[in-house]
């Protein structure tokens, strides 16, 4: 596969490490209410769609960016690649 890195352009996917669902960004508050239940759902339950899927890849052999890749799990077509840090910020993560 080829991942079109937003900064570096198209790069072979073998330079990247795949982590999984984009929702791994949405880490619950460990000191919040229902933390145990929230962490169980966060870490273990998956939508696992056959089709469009937003997932995290890490450019380990390249610029060490974490990316959010929107990819079809049936055709492997890639629609969009974003810097995960931007996505994280847009989802309200900060410090």
């Amino acid at each position: 596969m080829i991942i079109n890195h937003p900064l570096l352009g198209p790069r072979d996917a073998n330079e990247f490490i795949h982590l999984g669902d984009e929702s791994m960004i949405d880490r619950p508050d460990g000191m919040g209410e229902h933390a145990a239940k929230n962490f169980h759902e966060y870490l273990y339950l998956r939508d696992n769609p056959a089709g469009k899927y937003r997932e995290l890849w890490y450019h380990e052999a390249g610029d060490r960016s974490w990316l959010v890749v929107t990819r079809d799990t049936v055709t492997h077509e890639i629609f969009n690649v974003e810097l995960a840090r931007d996505v994280a910020r847009s989802r309200g993560r900060s410090k």
Binding site: L7, L8, G62, S65
Partner: protein
């Protein structure tokens, strides 16, 4: 106590294989500079003032006679320059709060490959497109070769710098050497 003497990763390797020349480049310092959050423009100005260079783009290095700047991460660049002692501290003085500086000189080995067939040899280990029109002069890419992390820079027409981890320098040299042998 005697002062410590330095040992280069490949002992100053320099060899010709067919029409390819392969040599270790050991007289350089490599310094990582991370850009503190909120200090981007200050950092950029310092780069301009100190090196008289612009910020490198993600795929192209910038250079002058002594110094080359490489993009390595969205908030980090590498400075490749003539060898200085303890660059971390000397640079820290110059850059102050506008950069976090880490010496990387000893973490890397630098090989220079040159000659007409250098591309043909690199074709065997480098998955980046090195076509003259695509990977232009001063182009750079961080990638992997034979399971080793590598930075490739196009220095001249058929001349490339190849940088990889110093601990596996011998394996890296072997990979490049073999590529030259397999085509010649």
């Amino acid at each position: 106590m005697a002062k410590l003497s330095a040992t280069d990763s490949l002992g100053g390797y320099d060899k010709e294989i067919g029409n390819i020349r392969l040599r270790e480049v050991a007289n350089q310092s490599l310094i990582a500079m991370a850009i503190p959050q909120g200090k981007e423009s200050k950092f950029k100005n310092n780069i301009k003032n100190i090196f008289n260079l612009k910020m490198p783009s993600p795929t192209k290095s910038v250079k002058n006679k002594d110094t080359r700047l490489l993009f390595t991460q969205p908030d980090q660049i590498f400075v490749l320059m003539k060898r200085v002692e303890d660059p971390e501290n000397s640079m820290a003085v110059t850059f102050g709060e506008s950069a976090y500086i880490t010496d990387q000189t000893d973490a890397w080995v630098i090989l220079e490959i040159s000659g007409e067939s250098s591309r043909e040899a690199l074709e065997r280990i480098c998955q980046v497109d090195l076509d003259k029109n695509v990977f232009q002069l001063d182009g750079m890419a961080r990638t992997n070769m034979e399971h080793m992390s590598a930075i490739i820079i196009r220095k001249a027409d058929n001349t490339f710098y190849l940088m990889s981890a110093s601990s596996s320098a011998k394996s890296f040299l072997h990979a490049v050497e073999l590529s030259a042998q397999h085509i010649s």
